[in-house]
C-alpha cells in the first residue's frame, strides 16, 4: 500500500491537502503502511524516544565533567545557571537543552540520533522547550516528532543528512529544518507554514561546512546545536507570521545537495580544513594524537 507515500515536500503537502490531515498524521500513516505496524506501536516507539531525549537533557545538565578530549562539557549548565540577558524563555530553554543533549552525546551517554548524532540536540530541544513553555501535552509532542521526521526523511531521500556527504548544512541544517516545521505545527500553524519554516531554515544555512577539530563530534558541533535551536525558532516565528521563501521548498533541498556535492572534501568531516586546520585546531589534534600514542 502506498496511499501516503511522499517523495518530496510538495507531495507531502499534497497529501495533507487531499486528506485534510496535519503533516504529522500523514507521516505517521505512511510509517504504519510501510512498516506494517499498527498505530499503537508506532506511537509507542516515538513515545519511548521522548523518554531518551529527556534522559539526555538531564544527563547533559547534571554531568558537568569534560569529554575524553577535554574539549567540551559544562556549557549547558553554565547557560542554564546564568541570568537571562537577551533571549526569551523559549529560546533560552531550547539553547540550554540543545547544548545539554549534544554534550551528553560527546560524553558517551545515551542519545537518539536526530537525524544524526552530531546534530542530535536540535530537534528535541526545540520541540520540548516549546512544549514546556507553552504547556503542550505529551501527545502533541509525539505528533511534532513525526512532523520533524517526515521533513528529515524527504531531505535524506532527495539530498543527504551526513556531514561527510553534504557538510554541516546537511546535518545540523536538516535538524533545524525538522525542528522548525515541528513547532509550527505544534503552535497551530498550517502544513504549508510548517514546510515554509523548514525551507527558510535550510536556506539560511546553505554552504555550512563540516570541519570538526581532531575529527571529534565536539568543536564546533556542541555549540552549533545550541545556536541552531534558536535558528529554528526564528524560522518558525517567520513562517507563522506568513513569511514565505522565494525559492520553493524542494528547490532549496536540491540546492543544498548540489552545494554539498560541490564542497571540497577537506570541509566534509575529514578534518583537513577549516577550524580543524587552524593553528589551535592542529595543536589540539596533535596533543590528542600524542596522548593516544603514549597510552
Amino acid at each position: 500500500m502506498n496511499t501516503y507515500e511522499y517523495k518530496s515536500l510538495a507531495e507531502l503537502l499534497n497529501l495533507t491537502d487531499k486528506y485534510t490531515l496535519p503533516l504529522s498524521k500523514v507521516v505517521m500513516l505512511r510509517e504504519m503502511e510501510e512498516s506494517e505496524k499498527p498505530e499503537s506501536t508506532v506511537l509507542d516507539i516515538m513515545d519511548k524516544r521522548i523518554d531518551v531525549f529527556y534522559e539526555s537533557i538531564q544527563t547533559g545538565l547534571n554531568d558537568t565533567t569534560q569529554s575524553v578530549s577535554g574539549l567540551v562539557g559544562g556549557d549547558a549548565a553554565r547557560l542554564a545557571a546564568a541570568a537571562s540577558v537577551l533571549l526569551g524563555d523559549v529560546s533560552r530553554r531550547a539553547a540550554v537543552y540543545a547544548l545539554a543533549i549534544n554534550e551528553a552525546n560527546a560524553k558517551m551517554f545515551r542519545i537518539v540520533a536526530c537525524p544524526t548524532a552530531g546534530s542530535c540536540g536540535i530537534v528535541p530541544a526545540v520541540i520540548l522547550a516549546v512544549a514546556e513553555e507553552k504547556k503542550y501535552e505529551r501527545q502533541s509532542c509525539i505528533q511534532a516528532f513525526f512532523t520533524a521526521a517526515g521533513i528529515g526523511a524527504v531531505i535524506a531521500r532527495n539530498a543527504c543528512v551526513a556531514g561527510a556527504v553534504g557538510g554541516c548544512q546537511a546535518e545540523c541544517g536538516t535538524a533545524a529544518a525538522m525542528a522548525a516545521a515541528a513547532v509550527v505545527e505544534l503552535c497551530g500553524g498550517t502544513p504549508v507554514q510548517a514546510v515554509q519554516a523548514a525551507t527558510l531554515c535550510l536556506k539560511n544555512v546553505l554552504g555550512l561546512v563540516c570541519d570538526p577539530v581532531a575529527g571529534l563530534v565536539e568543536v564546533p558541533c556542541v555549540k552549533r546545536n545550541g545556536f541552531f535551536a534558536v535558528h529554528a525558532l526564528t524560522a518558525a516565528e517567520m513562517a507563522l507570521a506568513g513569511i514565505v521563501s522565494v525559492i520553493p521548498p524542494d528547490e532549496v533541498v536540491s540546492a543544498m545537495y548540489e552545494i554539498g556535492r560541490a564542497m571540497p572534501v577537506s570541509l566534509k568531516e575529514t578534518s583537513e580544513g577549516g577550524l580543524a586546520r587552524t593553528p589551535t585546531g592542529k595543536e589540539i589534534a596533535e596533543r590528542l594524537e600524542k596522548a593516544m600514542r603514549e597510552q
Partner: protein
C-alpha cells in the same frame, strides 16, 4: 525509509559511524563466533585508527564483543567489564590502506576454543557490513536474517540448500555465492524474510560438501 531511522537510532554517543557502528560490528563478530569470546585482537584502520579514542570506538567494539547493543550504557565501561569477565583485549592501530576509511579487523578466540577472524566496516548512520570471515570475502549487513554456509565448491550445493529452504517455507530475499577458486572453498550468504529454524540449519549443515553453517538474526 522508516521515520525511526531519522528520529533514531537510540545509541550511546558520540558518533553513529565511529561508536554505534563499531558496537554493531563487535556484536556481529560475537554472533559469527557463536561462542563467548575470551580473547580479541583488534586492529583499527583509517579514520577508526585516527580518532578511535575520542569516539570511544575501542570501547564500542569491546561492548559489542561482550554482547551489548549500541544503546547499552555499559558501553562506557566495556574494558572494565571485559577484564572482570576474563576477556583479553589488544588494540593495534594500523597505517595500512583499506578500501573503506572505517575498517576494523578482529581476531577472536572463544571459550570452547573456536578461532575466527573478521573484517568489518562502518558505513555511516550506524549501518555496518562484515566484509571478511576467515579470509573469505562476504557481505553481511545484519539487517536481515542471514544464513552463511562454508562449503566445498561443487555442482548442486545451491540447489540442495535452497530446496531445504523451500520445503521449510523460508522465503529468500537475496543470495550471494563467493569462492576462492573452482572446486575449492566457497561461501554462500542467503538473506531470508524469516528466521531459519534450528532443524533446517542442522539439515543444511548435514549436506556432505558443507563444512559449517552460521545462522544470524538481525542486529
Amino acid at each position: 525509509m522508516s521515520v525511526f531511522d531519522i528520529v533514531g537510532p537510540v545509541m550511546i554517543g558520540p558518533s553513529s559511524s565511529h561508536t554505534a557502528g563499531a558496537a554493531r560490528i563487535g556484536l556481529m563478530a560475537r554472533k559469527i563466533l557463536k561462542d563467548e569470546p575470551i580473547r580479541a585482537d583488534i586492529t583499527v584502520y583509517g579514520s577508526f585508527a585516527k580518532t578511535y579514542k575520542g569516539h570511544g570506538t575501542d570501547k564500542a567494539l569491546v561492548a559489542g564483543l561482550l554482547g551489548f547493543s549500541a544503546d547499552d550504557i555499559r558501553l562506557r565501561s566495556s574494558f572494565e567489564i571485559a577484564k572482570e569477565e576474563g576477556m583479553t583485549v589488544t588494540l593495534t592501530r594500523s597505517e595500512e590502506e583499506t578500501d573503506h576509511p572505517n575498517t576494523v579487523r578482529i581476531k577472536m578466540e572463544g571459550k570452547t576454543g573456536t578461532v575466527m577472524e573478521i573484517v568489518g566496516v562502518s558505513l555511516g548512520g550506524g549501518r555496518i557490513e562484515i566484509r571478511e570471515i576467515n579470509g573469505f570475502y562476504v557481505e553481511i549487513t545484519g539487517e536481515e536474517y542471514t544464513l552463511l554456509t562454508f562449503h566445498h565448491d561443487q555442482p548442486g550445493i545451491i540447489a540442495k540448500v535452497t530446496t531445504i529452504m523451500a520445503l521449510g517455507a523460508i522465503n529468500v530475499s537475496t543470495m550471494k555465492v563467493f569462492r576462492s577458486a573452482k572446486n575449492a572453498n566457497a561461501v554462500m550468504i542467503i538473506c531470508t524474510d524469516s528466521p531459519i529454524p534450528s532443524d533446517l540449519e542442522t539439515e543444511i549443515c548435514n549436506i556432505s560438501a558443507i563444512q559449517s553453517v552460521i545462522a544470524l538474526s538481525p542486529l
